[in-house]
Every structure is written in C-alpha cells, then in structure tokens.
C-alpha cells in the first residue's frame, strides 16, 4: 500500500494556515483528499473538502487509506493514537520536533495494530503524475516527472535536489518516499527498499541518507540482495561530531553513523556512491 499511487487521503489539522496552502497544492495535483479533521470545526469545508470533528466521524463517512497530519509536535501522539484507533492503516507525520518518547510509544502502538507510520519529520510522498501527500513541490516540472526511478530520502530539501538530478538526467520518478529526519521514524530506509524491489514500475533506486544512526547500514545488507541498481548519496561528510545538524537524527556520537562508514558498507554491498548530487544523474545513465 505504501506504493499505491491513488490513495484516499484524510488530512488531520486541515484548517491551519500551512495545511490549507498544501491542501490546495495537493488538490490541484490530483490527490484524492476525501476529508479533513479539525476538532470544533466539524461541518465546515475547505476547498469543498468536508471537515469533521474527529477521525472516527470522518471514517464513518469515507474510506480512508492514509491520513496526513498537519498537527503541532506536542499533539502528534494523540492525533496518531486517534488515527490508529480509527482503523487507518497508513499515517504520514510531517511535524518536526515531536518528543522522541512520544514517537516511541506511537510506533509501538502502530506496530501492534498493523499500521504503517511514515515520519515524523517526513516531507511526505510523491507519486509523480498521480498524487502528492505531504509538502514536496510536486508541481515543479523540473523536479518531478513520472518515470522509472524510486527515490527514498531522510531529507525533504535534499530529496528535492536528488529528484531534480534524476529528471535532469532524462529519467522520471515513479515514487518519492520521504522517511523523515528524526531520531526514530516509523518507516526505515530498508523497508522502503523492500517495497521498491517488489514494484514493477521501478527500474532503479536513489537512496538519500545522512549522517547518524544505522538505517543506511541496515539498508546496505538488503541492497546486496536487490536486482535493481541503487545509487546512494549520503550527506554530512563535513559535519562535526557530536552536533545535531538541523535534523534531530543527524548526529554522530563516537564512530557509529559516520558518512564514511555508511558509504563504505553501501559500496561493499553493491550500491553506487554519488559524491555530489550531479553524480546521481551520471550514475543512473550508466546503470539504468
């Protein structure tokens, strides 16, 4: 379901200013936004999209595949529990700054209920030519064109850069999956790679990682078994040790999680390392 391109979407926190900006963009792009939730604003509508007081009321009236959350960090845990209890099976969390112990509990409850959580701190999902769920500039033609490459990224801004390089090289993007820059996230790089490997539309993969944690190391072991070429760009080589670089998860303590170690283990397992964004396109031209 992560890769299905025409999902029915619920937007939690739909009446906020930033939410309305993005709902309009997503709507224009063709995303099937069924409903929104904003406590106390039930009965209103945004761009013709009905607003409900609770997830429970929304799911009574609509089939929902995915919920997209424009909710303040301190309210994310509650909104996630509400979505899980409402029976929604995929949750996309944009907020940056959710307490990590809240995330820990949400992920545990989600896993017990068979729910996929993407994020927190994800830029969202783009299915070029079909739909967009999140805060990626899907409407920019030199960044997102339909095609055959799957992109998975911890970062939104570097995800834009990578997608742009894919398109500049003459390819298009089948799926862009942002997984988020937090210390703990619901969907890891390797889980997205597993989905990419199974998907017939995808002929090549671009993996965007950054310093910190062990997600890339874990992904490398799966790369070895993949039939599709993987190009990896890992940010943070010139970042200092022990300082968090904008993303809560982008921090190296000791030797674990350095860019060098990630690049080495990825290369050892058959991934192709791009040192700069432009090298992504060059490598794809050779490999795909």
């Amino acid at each position: 379901m992560l890769l299905s391109k025409n999902k029915k979407v619920l937007v939690q926190g739909i009446t906020g200013k930033e939410a309305q900006y993005w709902v309009e963009k997503m709507n224009d792009y063709g995303t099937d936004i069924q409903a929104g939730v904003a406590p106390g604003k039930g009965g209103q509508s945004i761009l013709g999209i009905p607003v409900y007081d609770s997830v429970k009321e929304a799911v009574e009236q609509h089939d929902i595949d995915t919920t997209l959350m424009f909710v303040a960090p301190s309210l994310v845990e509650t909104a996630t529990m509400e979505a899980i209890d409402g029976g929604i099976k995929e949750i996309v969390i944009l907020a940056d700054g959710v307490p990590v112990h809240d995330i820990m509990r949400m992920l545990s409850y989600g896993a017990k209920n068979g729910v996929r959580i993407i994020g927190p701190n994800t830029p969202g999902l783009v299915y070029p030519g079909f739909s967009s769920i999140g805060i990626m500039p899907s409407w920019l033609p030199h960044v997102f064109q339909p095609g055959e490459i799957g992109v998975v990224s911890r970062s939104g801004s570097l995800g834009n850069e990578a997608s742009y390089q894919v398109v500049q090289a003459g390819f298009g993007i089948s799926h862009f999956i942002g997984i988020g820059g937090d210390l703990l996230v619901g969907t890891t790089t390797v889980e997205v790679l597993e989905e990419f490997e199974r998907n017939d539309d995808i002929k090549g993969v671009v993996l965007i990682g950054e310093l910190g944690g062990n997600m890339e190391e874990q992904a490398a072991r799966f790369v070895k078994t993949m039939s599709k070429p993987v190009v990896a760009l890992i940010a943070g080589k010139s970042s200092p040790i022990g300082v968090s670089m904008g993303h809560a998860g982008a921090i190296v303590e000791g030797t674990e999680g350095s860019v060098e170690s990630k690049q080495k283990i990825l290369a050892d397992n058959g991934a192709h390392i791009a040192n700069t964004p432009m090298e992504i396109g060059k490598l794809l031209k050779i490999l795909v």
Binding site: E18, Y21, P73, D96, V98, P99, V100, H101, M104, R105, L107, S108, A111, K112, P123, I135, P137, L140, H142, R154, S155, G156, S157, L158, N160, E161, Y164, G181, L183, L184, V185, T188, V190, I208, E210, G213, N214, M215, Q218, L233, A235, G236, K237, S238, S239, P240, G242, V243, M245, G246, H247, A250, E253, G254, T255, E256, N275, T276, P277, M278
Partner: protein
C-alpha cells in the same frame, strides 16, 4: 541535550543509585578543602560536554593537597575535543573489583529502546564491540510495557552475574529505565558501572543525553535559556572560510560536502528552511559578523520556502553591509524566475542551475579573495 557528568550523577542519586562520594569544584583554591572532606586519595574529573575525556588526560588522581592543586590547575585550563573545562568533579577513589558497561538508548533500526550490557566495561562501547563482541548483550524494550527488574535479572544472568550482585544490578537497571522514561532521555549510560571489593554497585561515570523536545530538559532550563539566537537559525560554526547559507537541513549538509569535495572549507552550517525562510536577512546579518569569511555560497532549492523571498532578504542584508567578499548563488525551485531577476538587477549576478558548478566557483573565488587579502 547532553548533561555534564555531575548533573547525570545528581539524577542517579535522586533515584537511589549509589554514586561515589564527591563534590563539584570550579577553582583550584578550593580543591584542597573538598578533597580533604572526601578523604585522600581522590580522583579529579574534568567536566566537559565531550567524549574521549580519559584519553585526553581529563581524569587525574591526587594523594595530597599539592597534587590536587597542581592537577586542578591543569584540568581547569583544558580543552577536551573542543569543549572547555569549566569545573572539576572531585571524588573518592574506589576499589574496583569489576567494571561493567550499561546503557539504555534508542535503537533506530529496531525503532525501540534497547538495553546494552557488557561484563567488559571501562572501554568505549565501540572498543568493546571490536575487542569483546561476544560480551555485548542486548534486550529490546516494548515502551508500552516497560523494562522491569525481572527483565534485568534475565539479562544480567546471561552476562554471568549471580547472587546479591545480580539482585543489585537488576534493581539499578530498572531504576535507570525509570530515569530514561521520566526524563525523556535519548541515552542513559553508565560506563563503568563498578562492583567494588566490598560489594557496592557504583555508577562511577554517567552520561545522559536528553531529548531537546522532551520534558526532562525543563529541569535544566538555565542551559536552555542560554541558547543563542543563532541556534534558533540552526547555525553551527566550523573552522573553514566559505560561508554557507541554504534551505533545509539535508541540502545544507550536502552544500557543505560539495564545497569540501571541490577543495573548499565550509565555515558553517546554517539552514533557513521551513518558516525560517523569511529570516534570510537576519541570517546573513549574523553570518557577516564573522570576519574570517573569504566567500559565501547561497544554495536554494525552493519548495515551501520561496527563493525570491529569501533573495530579497539577502539583498536587504547586503545593502547594510559594506562587504566585498565574493558571493555565489545557486537558485532552483519555487520563486526561481523572480529570484534570478532580482539577482541580475541588483547584483548583476547570474545564479547557477547546479550546486556542483556553484561550489566550484565559490571555492575558486574564495581562494582568490584569500590571496588578495594577505
């Protein structure tokens, strides 16, 4: 937010964990009094927010006042991996029977907290992983269920402990999980956790990293209040001379990397993504307070952040500053056309399409500027 050792130990003590008898001292005059109260021989431990303290010589011993004062003087002037030493923790010297490694942290791949134990403590966990990998035991925690003393009994039994030591270690482990949860920590580590010859179980060191978004940091509010404006702009100073201004954490890190790839030295990390994009004037004002820059690379890839609004702010800042250091721009994404037009009209500068090209140019121009300066 990383806590000092003495802060970590104060939390441990509050929860009933045994720690060495000790006092915090911030001048070498008062060191003798403190050491006498504790009783010689003592250990002097430099307090700094950095790892690698032992190797850097930040832990010293003293058997009398003269040694204590001499060593305190050395420690207080020290810099440990970039972190200044502001105080010394004076502690009793303990009689070590065995050193254990113990930590609770977030396992990012498993998406759960994990308890890590090794009966071969004292070294860094990375060193233990290399030299004694089989001694490392892990137990993953379901956060909705918690980590209780019976989980810990099982774990420490596997690590080879028995009897009263097993009971004490297990209680301590469950208490540490309580601290981990109640303080919303990212890491709680005791290394070494010491068993003394007379059977005490002592936290001889303590490392606690709190989630900056969590509730545990509130207790350390003074440190939070001291956060500078540039922290709000997500600024990290580096040693190089090429100033970096970009939007989004990932893109900013990559901008630094590409500058370094082409032989340049980034002077900073500074990102103005999300809502911060409206603050580009303040961001550049701040960056230009640095007098060691030989060039600035502005790399923008607009989505929600509008590149034209960012460029407007940069132009306002440049108007205020009489600077001749070279600027190179790379602009793509939302607002691109207007941003390019603004740059052409105001600075007569053509923005690059590609980061690689922009990085090459700023590295070259910064090099020229540096030569002209000398």
């Amino acid at each position: 937010m990383r806590l000092f050792e003495y802060q970590a130990k104060a939390i441990f003590a509050k929860y009933g964990i045994d720690i060495p008898n000790g006092q915090l001292v911030d001048s070498h005059d008062s060191i003798g009094d403190s050491a006498k109260k504790i009783g010689y021989p003592v250990v002097l431990k430099a307090q700094a927010l950095a790892g690698g303290r032992g190797k850097a010589g930040g832990i010293r011993f003293a058997k009398d006042d003269m040694e204590a004062e001499g060593n305190a003087g050395i420690l207080l002037g020290m810099n440990i991996n970039g972190a200044a030493v502001s105080s010394i923790l004076v502690e009793e010297k303990v009689d070590i029977e065995k050193e254990i490694y113990f930590s609770i942290t977030m396992d990012r791949a498993a998406k759960r907290p994990v308890v890590i134990v090794s009966a071969e403590g004292g070294m860094d966990i990375e060193e233990i992983a290399k030299s004694e990998p089989d001694s490392i035991l892990k137990e993953w925690i379901d956060p909705t269920h918690g980590f209780h003393s019976y989980h810990a009994i099982d774990l420490f039994k596997r690590a080879g402990f028995t009897g009263d030591t097993l009971r004490k270690l297990s209680q301590l482990a469950a208490t540490l999980y309580k601290i981990f949860s109640e303080y919303e920590a990212e890491l709680v580590e005791i290394n070494p956790l010491v068993i003394t010859r007379n059977g005490r179980v002592l936290a001889v060191d303590g490392k606690v990293i709190l989630d900056e978004n969590g509730k545990g940091v509130k207790e350390f509010q003074i440190q939070i209040d001291a956060v500078r404006d540039e922290d709000l702009m997500r600024y990290v100073p580096l040693e190089g001379d090429v100033g970096i201004l970009a939007n989004g954490a990932g893109l900013t890190m990559m901008t630094m990397d590409v500058v370094a790839h082409y032989g340049g030295n980034p002077a900073n990390f500074m990102e103005i993504g999300g809502e911060l994009y409206k603050k580009s004037e303040e961001a550049l004002d701040f960056l230009l307070t640095r007098k060691d820059l030989n060039g600035v690379l502005v790399n923008l890839f607009g989505a929600y952040a509008r590149t034209d609004v960012i460029i407007e702010g940069i132009l306002r800042s440049l108007e205020k500053h009489d600077t001749d250091i070279p600027f190179v721009f790379r602009v793509r994404g939302t607002g691109e056309e207007r941003a390019r037009k603004l740059l052409m009209e105001n600075l007569n500068v053509e923005a690059h399409d590609e980061l690689d090209e922009a990085a090459k140019e700023i590295v070259m121009k910064a090099e020229d500027y540096r030569k002209r300066r000398v």
